[in-house]
């Protein structure tokens, strides 16, 4: 059963204020990922403080980097169930976990950050993981 929307609203805002587009329905997910071009980071948001409490500020730090994905989108696990289910179908070889992050380039997952790679890590560590991937996969030479 989804958490109280009022409880998660600040967690949604913590991501959307970074410029991430929130996808709350399967149709919105398909519109964003269906014919995805260039680089895109999909952030699977989560209530759990064990990991999400570091994932969101880690994302914020990473998006201050000089190289970032062309688009950032987000779905909220345990809240927008249809959207999350649909989003996970785009990276079905990866088992579901939340929070998690998928970096896509031209529709292919090129980097994935699982929950276990966030747990116990500082936001700075999470950001370092992401920015290394941004440098590798989101530069001008690879993402037009």
């Amino acid at each position: 059963m989804p958490y109280n929307p009022a409880l998660v609203a600040p967690m949604r805002a913590e991501v959307t204020r970074l410029g991430a587009k929130e996808l709350t329905t399967a149709a919105e997910v398909d519109a964003a990922l269906g014919d995805q071009r260039g680089s895109m980071l999909l952030f699977v948001n989560s209530v759990c403080g064990c990991a999400a409490g570091n994932a969101r500020p880690g994302l914020a730090l990473a998006l201050e980097h000089s190289v970032v994905p062309q688009q950032v989108v987000t779905v909220f696990a345990g809240q927008d169930l249809d959207a999350v289910f649909r989003a996970r179908q785009y990276f079905a070889e990866y088992q579901p976990s939340s929070p998690s992050m998928a970096l896509l380039r031209d529709g292919e997952v090129v980097h994935f950050v699982h929950r276990h790679q966030i747990e116990g890590r500082s936001p700075k560590d999470v950001a370092a993981n992401l920015t290394a991937a941004f440098d590798r996969f989101c530069g001008a030479s690879v993402a037009q």
Partner: protein, 93 residues
Amino acid sequence: MSGHVFHQGHAELHGITVVVETNGSRTYVGRYDSQDEQGVHMLDVGIHEETAAESKDEYIKRSAKFGIRSDHKHLIVPASEVARVTRLGEVFS
């Protein structure tokens, strides 16, 4: 809400994805919930049998890369069987 933890008062590993190695042929990967006289309580747990074609290290490495294929929603690893508990993120990341 940054850094907010909903699980105050729980064990240090509560909510953390761990590898539980045993004295027997099984290895468990999943989220650590708690530990009591029964053993280690885990959630969303994948199990590897040493007899499987895939080695234990390969299984753990695959779990680290692609996530954990959950075989059990909740499982207790008997205390007498637990040899070592390690964070998955520290084994392979």
